[in-house]
C-alpha cells in the first residue's frame, strides 16, 4: 500500500477519466444537437416538386429553410405573405409562404434566415405552422 504522504494518480484512472469524458460529450452532443432542428422528424420540402404541382401536396406538412427575400402582401385577417429564397442542390427557388396573424409580433425582415414547419393549404399555398430562426 502506498503511504498517505506519497499519493500518485494511476494511469488507469487517467484512462477511465478520458473514456468517461468522451462518453459524456458524445451523449450530450447526441441529445442537444437535436435541438438544432426542432422539425427534424418532419419531411423536407423539395422546392422543385412544390413548384411543379403544389396542389398535389395539399394537406401535407413539410419543413424548409430559407432566407426572406421580399414581402408580397399582408392582411390583418390572413397574415403576411413572403417570398422565401430556398435552395435545392445548386439551384435556388423563390417560394411563397404565408405567415398567419398568430405571428404578428414577429419582426420579419429581408435577409433573415428561418426554418419553417409549413402545411400546404387547400389553395396550394404554404402556411406556416411553426417557425424559428436558424
Amino acid at each position: 500500500m502506498v503511504r498517505r504522504a506519497h499519493q500518485q494518480t494511476s494511469p488507469s484512472l487517467w484512462l477511465v477519466t478520458a473514456i468517461v469524458l468522451i462518453v459524456l460529450a458524445g451523449v450530450g452532443a447526441f441529445f442537444f444537437q437535436k435541438d438544432n432542428n426542432p422539425y427534424r422528424t418532419v419531411e423536407v420540402l423539395k422546392p422543385a416538386d412544390y413548384l411543379e404541382n403544389a396542389n398535389s401536396l395539399r394537406g401535407n406538412i413539410y419543413q424548409l429553410e430559407g432566407v426572406i427575400a421580399a414581402s408580397l402582401g399582408s392582411s390583418p385577417e390572413k397574415g403576411r405573405l413572403f417570398s422565401l429564397r430556398t435552395s435545392q442542390g445548386e439551384r435556388e427557388f423563390p417560394l411563397p409562404v404565408l405567415v398567419p396573424p398568430a405571428y404578428r409580433d414577429l419582426n420579419l425582415q429581408k435577409g433573415q434566415r428561418y426554418r419553417l414547419k409549413v402545411r400546404v393549404n387547400d389553395a396550394g399555398l404554404m402556411e406556416v405552422e411553426e417557425m424559428t430562426k436558424s
Partner: protein, 584 residues
C-alpha cells in the same frame, strides 16, 4: 492489560523486528537521478518517551531519513515499523504523526491564535469551545500565550518555529519529527527550541526526532544518530559519541567522518556490540506503556464538510487581509467591463432594414443591399465582438482567480494533507471561495455591459453562459495550478489557455470545417459566445451577426452542456492534482 501489552511487545521483541516504538530495518532509498543510494542499510530502533537527534554533515541524508519515516519519500527496500506495525501495510494515522518541516507552515497574515485555530479546526473534531481550549493548551505548552494576537509575519525565527511546533501539537502526536527547526536561529533560541522539544518528548510514549546540523546541547538528547553519505555511522547515547569516534569533543566528529568511506563507518557500527546503547527492558516497558495509552490518544479527524468550511473561512480571511489582492480583484472587476463598453458607450446602434417591397427598382434594391451589407458588417462585428470581448475578459479573470491557488500554497497543502486534511475538503474550500469571485465577476460584467450598451435579450440567459464560462476557466486554471511545478509555470499555462480562446473560437476567423469540429469542443469561449448570442435570437442583431460569421452557433442547451463538462473536468483534474503528493 499491561501484562497483555507487555506480552505482545515481548513477543515482538523475540521475533527480533520490533523492539523499539520506531524500528527501521535495513531501510534503503534509491532514486534514478542519483548514482548512490540516498539511504542505505539504515537499521535503527528507538523507544517512546525519547528525544533523538539525527545529525551529520550537509547532504548526509538526515532530512531524507526523516521524510522516509514520515512517508514523504518512499523507501525502496527494508521495513519501517511503528509500534510493531509495518507502515507499508498500515500507515501512520494523521494524529500519530507530527511533522515540522524546515519551512514555515504558518500564514504570515494570520495571528498566532488564528493560525492555531485553523490548524486545530482542520485536524480535530470539536465545537468552538473545545478548539479554543486546545489552542490555549498548545500555546501554553510552547510558550506562545503572550503572542496569541500577534501576526505570524512579524514573529522572530524562534517564535515561528515554536508556532510550527504548536500547530503540530494540536493533535497531540506520538511521533514528532522536526526537520532542521533549530537551523538559522541564534544560540539562545536554539537552546529554547531544543529544550522545548526535550520537554515534549517526556510525554509517555512520545518519540521526538530532531534533524540538526548542530552538535550543541547534546546533553538534551537521549540518543544521537550520526549519518554519513546515507549510512548509519553511530546511533546511541550522546555521551559515547566522542569516544566512539576517538575525538576530543563531539564537534570534531564531522571532520573525522570524511577520513573513511561511509560503508566502512556503517560496517563498523553494525558490528559494534553495543548497537543501540539502550536497555532493551526499558524500551519494552516504554512500549508497553505506550500501547496502553494509544487508544486514549487517538482522536478522530473532522468530516469533509467541517474541513472544507475551515479551509474556506481561512481563505476568506487571507483574501481580505491581502490588500493588494483585494485591490487587484476590484480593479479587474471595475475596469474590464468599462473597457468593453468603450466600443458602444452610447448603446448599440439602430438597425436599418431593407425595403421589402418587391416592386422596388433594381438599382434601388442593389443600393439598399449594399448599404445593408455595410451595416451588417459594422453592427454584426460590433455585437459579436462585444460578446466575445466580455467572454475573453471573463476568461482572463477566471485564470487570474485560480492560477496560483494551489501551487502558491502547495507546501502548506501537503503539510495539511499529512496532518489529515482530505484533498476533497481542500478542493471544496477553494471552490467555495472561487465561486464567490466567479459569481460577482460574471454578474457585474453582464449587468454593466448590458446597461451601458443597452443589449436586448434575456438577462438570465446572458448571465448564465458568462457564469459558466468564468467558472469553467477558473476550474481549468485551478487544475493547471494543481499540476504545475511552479507559480510561473501555472500562470504561463493559464495565460496560454486564455490566449488560445479568441483565435480558436471562430468568432473572428472561421476555422475550416473539419478543424472546427475538432477544436470547438475544447474552446470554452466559443460556447459562452454562442450561448450569449442565442439570447439575441429574436433581435436583428442576431441576423447581422449570422450574416458576418461563418462559424455555426451552438444552441444554448449545447453550450451549457459543454461548459458544464469543462467545469466538471477542471474540478476533477484539480482534485487529482490536489490529491497527488508534491513535496518540494
Amino acid at each position: 492489560m499491561i501484562f497483555w501489552s507487555f506480552f505482545r511487545v515481548a513477543f515482538a521483541a523475540y521475533r527480533g523486528f520490533s523492539w523499539g516504538v520506531l524500528s527501521l530495518e535495513s531501510v534503503e532509498l534509491t532514486v534514478p537521478s542519483a548514482e548512490a543510494p540516498l539511504l542505505s542499510g539504515i537499521t535503527l530502533h528507538l523507544p517512546g518517551g525519547h528525544f533523538g537527534a539525527i545529525v551529520g554533515p550537509s547532504g548526509c541524508g538526515k532530512s531524507t531519513l526523516l521524510k522516509t519515516v514520515a512517508g514523504i519519500l518512499p523507501h525502496t527496500s527494508g521495513t519501517i515499523r511503528w509500534r510493531g506495525r509495518n507502515l507499508d501495510e498500515i500507515d501512520l494515522d494523521p494524529h500519530e504523526l507530527g511533522y515540522v518541516p524546515q519551512f514555515t507552515c504558518a500564514q504570515p497574515r494570520l495571528t498566532v491564535g488564528e493560525n492555531l485555530t485553523y490548524a486545530t479546526r482542520l485536524r480535530r473534531v470539536g465545537d468552538a469551545g473545545i478548539i479554543r481550549a486546545e489552542v490555549e493548551r498548545v500555546e501554553e505548552e510552547t510558550g506562545l500565550t503572550d503572542l496569541h494576537d500577534r501576526r505570524a509575519g512579524v514573529l522572530s525565527g524562534g517564535q515561528l518555529r515554536r508556532l510550527g511546533l504548536a500547530m503540530e501539537l494540536t493533535t497531540n502526536p506520538s511521533l514528532l519529527l522536526a526537520d532542521e527547526v533549530t537551523s538559522g536561529l541564534d544560540p539562545k533560541s536554539e537552546e529554547e527550541i531544543t529544550g522545548l522539544l526535550a520537554s515534549l518528548a517526556r510525554q509517555p510514549g512520545r518519540l521526538v526526532l530532531l534533524v540538526t546540523h548542530s552538535l550543541r546541547f547534546l546533553d538534551q538528547y537521549d540518543s544521537v544518530t550520526v549519518l554519513t553519505e546515507g549510512r548509519l555511522a553511530y546511533g546511541a547515547h550522546p555521551s559515547g559519541l566522542a569516544s566512539y569516534f576517538h575525538v576530543p569533543a563531539p564537534e570534531d566528529v564531522y571532520p573525522v567522518l570524511g577520513d573513511r568511506a561511509a560503508s566502512a563507518w556503517a560496517e563498523e557500527w553494525n558490528s559494534s556490540p553495543s548497537e543501540l546503547g539502550f536497555e532493551i527492558e526499558a524500551t519494552v516497558a516504554d512500549l508497553a506503556s505506550e500501547l496502553t495509552t494509544q487508544e486514549e490518544l487517538k482522536t478522530s479527524i473532522p468530516g469533509l464538510h467541517s474541513q472544507a468550511l475551515a479551509w474556506f473561512s481561512r481563505r476568506m480571511k487571507l483574501f481580505t487581509r491581502d490588500r493588494s489582492q483585494v485591490f487587484l480583484q476590484l480593479a479587474l472587476l471595475l475596469v474590464f467591463p468599462v473597457v468593453v463598453t468603450l466600443f458602444a458607450y452610447q448603446g448599440l446602434p439602430a438597425v436599418r432594414n431593407m425595403n421589402m417591397n418587391p416592386d422596388t427598382d433594381v438599382v434601388q434594391q442593389l443600393r439598399e443591399s449594399l448599404a445593408f451589407t455595410v451595416q451588417s458588417s459594422r453592427i454584426g462585428t460590433l455585437v459579436s465582438g462585444l460578446a466575445m470581448f466580455q467572454v475573453i475578459l471573463l476568461a482572463l479573470m477566471g485564470s487570474n482567480n485560480s492560477a496560483r491557488e494551489v501551487v502558491g500554497e502547495r507546501v502548506i497543502l501537503e503539510k495539511e494533507k499529512l496532518a489529515g486534511l482530505r484533498p476533497g475538503a481542500a478542493l471544496a474550500g477553494m471552490a467555495a471561495f472561487l465561486s464567490l469571485l466567479v459569481l460577482v465577476q460574471s454578474a457585474w460584467m453582464t449587468l454593466f455591459v448590458r446597461a451601458v450598451c443597452q443589449f436586448p435579450g434575456d438577462l438570465g440567459g446572458q448571465f448564465f453562459p458568462f457564469l459558466m464560462l468564468t467558472a469553467a476557466m477558473t476550474s481549468l486554471c485551478l487544475a493547471i495550478s494543481s499540476w504545475a511545478a511552479t507559480s510561473e509555470q501555472a500562470s504561463l499555462g493559464s495565460l496560454y489557455l486564455v490566449g488560445f480562446q479568441l483565435p480558436l473560437s471562430g468568432a473572428i476567423l472561421a476555422l475550416p470545417d473539419f478543424l472546427g469540429w475538432m477544436i470547438r469542443p475544447v474552446i470554452s469561449a466559443y460556447w459562452a459566445w454562442s450561448g450569449y448570442l442565442q439570447t439575441l435570437k429574436d433581435t436583428r442583431f442576431y441576423d447581422l451577426v449570422r450574416a458576418i460569421t461563418e462559424t455555426p452557433l451552438a444552441t444554448s442547451q449545447m453550450a451549457t452542456w459543454v461548459l458544464t463538462l469543462h467545469l466538471g473536468l477542471g474540478l476533477f483534474l484539480a482534485y487529482l492534482g490536489v490529491r497527488r503528493s508534491d513535496w518540494r
